[in-house]
Symmetry: C2
């Protein structure tokens, strides 16, 4: 039995784990991204409990400048660092999975500026080592989520004619991830289809 | 060409990346652990550059309580959280690797109190999903480092007669990791031997 609205702790970022409806259009970009993140985290929790795969989120890298030990190691000065790899990785049938999740407010294309050069290099490296590398891209206003193989995105990033992937290309080259109640984003279903026989 | 003493940045914890000789016995436990971590990080950097495997360190999870946005997102109140998974994971020949690195000052046994229950559960899960799961254990004073398969450690943790693994059992069930200049800890060599045919 999976309890979604309670019983599940977001130990990494408890102050960001608000449960708000995903359909609201008054959301800031940050909140929408957080909803995608939350949906993926909940799906991962479901997959873990069902024994289907084990995917974890990398903690946000933080550069700690000052720690006050007089109060039991309270960090008093630190700053966020850019993730040099990706948000998620894990194991499925012994195989390595690695992906980045991005949400966009645009309705006609996915801007590649959302992806850092480091992440592109990291995912190229994953592919080189025969890992399964992909992006989960949410078009928040369209309420659509797609899985795009990293090879396609890397190629577009490096050789594409534009700085954003047109939505119709995402449809052509990506795979729609079905939304549901449990799991919220069944991306493993898509992985089975794409990478199951490779 | 690998430059070890310079040119390599520890972006996660720059203030901890001091280069001190590993042989000193005046080190605190924390520093010794940090040397093991540094040796593994440098080895991972070498493996990455040589295209042998891709292993990354998970950032230390930090719970952010307060952020001062007036100075450009400075974290002013936060605290360290316990890592609920392990320090390292990655990909080798398409396969998932996951391991925890621990250093002990003891010379006759490795205390299991160094390992959290969460980490045991995580590594059991990795094994269940056919990932390669292990521990890298340093006996700092003996200047020896061993790789122990997670199954052995989990079994000892759950069913063992004591709360520490005797050194002679580590020798019997583990595999010594050779230290060198490049890579500093050639743990991939051991992985090839143990898991290369499985």
């Amino acid at each position: 039995m999976i309890r979604y609205s309670n019983g599940l702790k977001f130990t990494k970022k408890p102050n960001n784990s608000q449960e708000k409806p995903i359909k609201s259009t008054s959301f800031s970009h940050g909140n929408r991204g957080m909803n995608l993140e939350q949906d993926i985290n909940l799906s991962n929790e479901y997959y873990k409990q069902q024994g289907l795969c084990l995917v974890t989120k990398r903690p946000t890298p933080i550069n700690v400048v000052q720690v006050d030990y007089s109060k039991g190691a309270i960090i008093t000065n630190a700053y966020f660092e850019k993730q040099s790899t990706t948000d998620y990785n894990g194991v499925w049938k012994g195989r390595y999975l690695d992906f980045e999740a991005k949400s966009t407010n645009k309705t006609t294309s996915f801007p590649l500026a959302n992806i850092s050069h480091h992440q592109i290099e990291h995912l190229k490296n994953v592919t080189k080592h025969k890992g399964i590398a992909f992006f989960i891209i949410e078009f928040a206003k369209l309420e659509k989520v797609y899985l795009l193989d990293a090879n396609y995105v890397v190629d577009f990033y490096e050789n594409g004619p534009r700085k954003s992937i047109p939505y119709k290309e995402v449809i052509n080259h990506g795979y729609e991830i079905k939304k549901g109640y449990i799991p919220r984003l069944n991306y493993l279903d898509v992985i089975e289809k794409i990478y199951g026989n490779s």
